[in-house]
């Protein structure tokens, strides 16, 4: 284990295993695609008739609801993937596979970051497959948008994965995870700009507006939305990058054997 090459091999190995597991779980890939497609094809079809999006950054012209909802669905894929990844970490911890990762001689922060990047890589495959299907459904962002969205998707994936990582460190048993999913995924998704713009939410409820404005998932959605349309939301970029630092830092502390939740977990 010497030199940068060994570090790169470690990162590659963790990502490779994550991809292998993902492609072996075909139902997971299928579910990851069906979920946003149901929203796009059924839900958006119903809403399209009553809600259009007037010109507002990053859109130059009037947009249909289908166009509006796609970035939110990309972020939804990453949200579910981040939680799925943390679910697999809880499972790995129960079966002992997680311990294999944690006794690696590489620093724990590095191993956990590798795990996080591996999860993001999986989410990118899902998102771009979804975007391809959406293209044939008539959602056609600028061609360069597919490229400029990549860094935004990486950052949003890292933030949502880091939240999942932190959650996985706090969950003692696999059975507890379903409850956490309900208390994390659904509130984060619905109280955000994934489905409706902030101005529309404000018209309905000022309280929900404030929740959505401070919801980190909102900023993941907006970062992707702006990037997909060749623009940058600096506010969202700042929130997402700051969020990665906070949640990843907290997860690393939580997995630290002397300071974090692992140390308080009790008899191993």
């Amino acid at each position: 284990m010497t030199g940068w090459n060994a570090w790169a091999i470690c990162a590659w190995g963790v990502a490779w295993r994550e991809m292998l597991r993902f492609f072996q779980q075909k139902e997971r890939f299928f579910a990851a695609l069906v979920r946003p497609l149901v929203w796009l094809i059924i839900f958006a079809a119903g809403i399209r008739a009553v809600l259009g999006i007037p010109p507002q950054p990053p859109y130059q012209t009037y947009m249909t609801y289908d166009d509006y909802v796609v970035p939110g669905l990309c972020a939804m894929i990453q949200l579910f993937n981040g939680m799925q990844s943390s679910l697999s970490m809880v499972y790995d911890r129960e079966t002992g596979a997680m311990r294999t990762l944690l006794v690696s001689p590489f620093p724990r922060w590095y191993v956990l970051t590798c795990k996080l990047f591996a999860s993001v890589t999986v989410s990118l495959v899902q998102v771009y497959t979804f975007l391809l299907i959406a293209y044939f459904w008539g959602i056609e962002p600028p061609a360069w948008g597919y490229l400029t969205a990549l860094p935004a998707l990486i950052l949003s994936g890292l933030l949502l994965g880091a939240i999942g990582l932190l959650l996985s460190s706090a969950i003692k048993q696999l059975e507890n995870f379903a409850g956490v999913m309900n208390f994390v995924i659904f509130p984060m998704f619905f109280a955000s700009t994934a489905l409706f713009p902030l101005w529309r939410i404000r018209e309905g409820s000022l309280e929900v507006y404030y929740i959505a404005a401070f919801n980190p998932f909102t900023h993941c959605v907006e970062l992707i939305r702006f990037a997909l349309y060749l623009d940058v939301s600096w506010l969202s970029l700042g929130v997402v990058v700051g969020g990665i630092a906070v949640f990843l830092g907290a997860a690393v502390v939580a997995y630290n054997p002397s300071r974090g939740l692992m140390a308080r977990r009790g008899r191993g």
Binding site: I9, R17, Q24
Partner: protein, 259 residues
């Protein structure tokens, strides 16, 4: 303490004065032990004796609260990376990915130690050959028997060529033949390669008379020496079973010292 600092080469494992608490509950109290290179050393104790806690400390899953642990001379708290590099681990619970092949598990394990794909496969195949499972390298782990999976786990733990291997009740749930094979494999490995083995168990029939044994009870080492010496000193009938029962029943938590 005999056995800790004897000889010129550093012990494969040195545990000195280690204590660990869960809140107010004392899990380990002043535990000192050593594993010399080339020995199959046994950590014997009933369930709840503190074996798994000690195991978690040696693997750095928990941080050391009191005392010092070093692996091949490298301090676990000061140079954890160097210490963990010399350590191979077989956990009590299954740690292989059942959905991947044996080869894929080997590649993944190698990557966690910075070892490339080709080297991992070559070393993995050689290790599997030694334990008679080379023909299973492309099989999914989930299709192997419990005993075969355990042997694959041992091969995997040796992939990065550690100088110390820890096995935490590695034969739990296996039939007698599988258990015997695995214990014999590790004895042979220790003798032939000079690797240190720390074998935690509560099954006395896995212990050979010459094996160094540390008997852990209620978080303290209540006897140590060779299995034969402990049996002689504490077993009324001259067997290790009798000695084990006598020491654990008598609740001699404070009676430390060589057999």
């Amino acid at each position: 303490m005999p056995g800790v600092l004897d000889g010129a080469a550093p012990p494969a494992l040195s545990v000195a004065g280690v204590a660990h608490h869960y809140g107010r509950t004392v899990a380990l109290d002043d535990v000192t032990l050593a594993v010399r290179p080339g020995t199959f050393t046994v950590l014997l104790g009933v369930n709840g004796a503190g074996k798994t806690t000690l195991f978690s400390l040696i693997t750095r899953l928990f941080a050391t609260q009191q005392g010092a642990i070093s692996i091949c001379g490298a301090s676990l708290s000061e140079t954890p990376s160097q210490a963990l590099r010399s350590l191979g681990v077989v956990f009590q619970s299954r740690a292989l990915d059942a959905n991947l092949t044996v080869a894929q598990n080997m590649i993944y394990q190698g990557a966690l130690y910075g070892i490339g794909r080709r080297t991992s496969l070559a070393r993995g195949l050689a290790l599997l050959d030694q334990i008679g499972l080379a023909d299973r390298i492309d099989h999914k782990v989930g299709r192997l028997s419990g005993g075969q999976q355990r042997r694959v786990e041992i091969a995997r733990a040796l992939l990065h060529e550690p100088r110390l291997i820890l096995c935490d009740e590695a034969t739990v749930g296996l039939d007698v033949k599988s258990r015997t094979d695995i214990v014999a494999t590790l004895h042979r490995l220790a003798a032939e390669t000079g690797i240190g083995v720390l074998w935690t168990t509560h099954l006395i029939d896995e212990i050979e008379p010459d094996d160094p044994v540390y008997l852990l009870h209620k978080g303290r080492v209540c006897a140590h020496g060779s299995a034969a010496e402990i049996a002689q000193a504490h077993g009324a009938g001259g067997s290790l079973s009798d000695a084990f029962l006598a020491l654990t029943r008598a609740d001699q938590a404070g009676a430390t010292g060589a057999a």
